[in-house]
């Protein structure tokens, strides 16, 4: 693992790192904020998965998470959203290919060689964090994310029961089976057999018996993607049917941007802190 930058912030260190990923076959960049702590302390880890077009840098620049992470003593990890590079397949669209990994392990050519963001985020990167950051207490993890990253957070948590003590999301894609973004991405990465999409659909996973102890979701009601792509009502129905306690907060006047995310970031970190203590 190579250090790209380290800057002191809110008493801790915001780092950006790069490593060669065996899973994606590419270099991968990610950011880690380690808050101020006593020597020898071990701190819980909050994963943040980003949305379409983003790298680690969007939330690192605009997410305004460091203040709350310093206050609560939480490590914040932000991976990239796909493999990248001139040798990596891509698509002209902004919602498919590089920047749009959708947290799946692709099975279709030409994507299957590199687009393995499920395994990268579930397995390889956590192992790297555990190895490289002695301060990280991997027995206390939480996960959150935005939009496509909200979809990633929900599906990874639902598929790995007991691993995340805290789960939340900002304006998540709740059912790729039922929205144009999902149909395009999962169809492209996984093929036309929709049964193969089920492990990547939060609502389908819940209907299939997967459970969470609790879930916080913030959603702006002025979000341009609300009705066609995000459809929080599907998650609400799935959680109600399954008895999952969902706190769904419709936030009046907020859109899909990092202005929305930053406004409610401290609430999500406090939600995680309560459960990671």
């Amino acid at each position: 693992m190579e250090t790209i930058s380290q800057n002191k912030a809110y008493g801790g260190v915001q780092g950006v790192y790069r490593h060669r990923s065996a899973t994606t076959g590419t270099d991968m960049t990610f950011s880690v904020y380690v808050p101020p702590h006593e020597e020898g302390a071990r701190l819980p880890v909050l994963w943040y998965l980003s949305g379409l077009t983003c790298t680690h840098a969007n939330v690192t620049d605009k997410g305004e998470y460091r203040r709350a992470c310093a206050e609560h003593g939480i490590i914040f990890v932000a991976p990239d959203t796909s493999p990248r590079g001139d040798d990596v397949p891509d698509d002209d669209a902004w919602d498919f290919g590089q920047g749009a990994g959708f947290y799946v392990d692709a099975t279709q050519d030409p994507w299957s060689a590199n687009f393995r963001m499920r395994s990268y985020v579930e397995d390889e990167l956590p192992a790297l964090i555990a190895r490289e950051f002695a301060v990280a207490d991997m027995s206390r993890q939480g996960i959150t994310g935005h939009s496509m990253g909200g979809h990633g957070a929900l599906t990874i948590a639902l598929r790995n029961p007991g691993r995340f003590r805290s789960v939340s999301a900002f304006a998540p894609i709740v059912s790729p089976l039922n929205c144009p973004w999902g149909e395009k991405a999962l169809g492209g990465y996984l093929g036309s057999d929709r049964a193969a999409w089920m492990p990547y659909d939060a609502c389908a996973l819940i209907a299939d018996g997967a459970r969470l102890d609790a879930l916080l979701v913030d959603q702006g009601d002025a979000d341009a993607f609300l009705r066609e792509q995000l459809k929080p009502e599907l998650l609400q129905q799935a959680c109600e049917a399954a008895g999952i306690p969902l706190t769904l907060r419709m936030q009046r006047g907020y859109d899909h941007s990092y202005y929305f995310i930053a406004t409610f970031m401290a609430d999500h970190i406090a939600w995680a802190a309560e459960r990671l203590r």
Copy 2:
């Protein structure tokens, strides 16, 4: 004035606007955050002047000021750092020409036609804000800034006694007469007669009798520009000799980046709020 974007953030509105400037002869872009407020309320205004290479966007994206501005009810205005455009003179260097206006009114060719950031920030933009934002109470203004923008904040406040109830700076250039950045920029914009530089040198203005009621300065001790360019000790000596109460905080381990600025932004807004109440 044209609205480029408006996004709800922390209960208020982060806007980005563009207007045709008579002072610079160019379009100018700036950002204004208006916090949540009662209808008919009038709120104080805090000016933030940015550093070399920056536009309004750097602090708008990375400055983390909205939370504290919402809490204290303060409007936050961030101008650009120079005129810009294909028709505007420029220089290959990052510390001269576009992105490096130094808050002076240039007298030298080819800069004097457009590079009039002193008049733009002192006169034209405040008049525009007063006209376009009824919520802005221009009888209660504060000013702050970073690096070159700290220099701008200090010199504008010192030249306009009674106008700013609150003055602070992050890692300011305190004496352009005594650092390479200043010699290059003021020499280029104002010519070789150093007497013409005096109104643009905070330490020289103080030595000449200009006063501030109080001043807060944060400076990282790991700032790569500390010893050659910033030299806070010169400001300290000038303030001591003049009896200006300076709170100079050397912040251990902090560099010159927005990670440093964001960490202490809430302190500067609280400092302003106390004086703008």
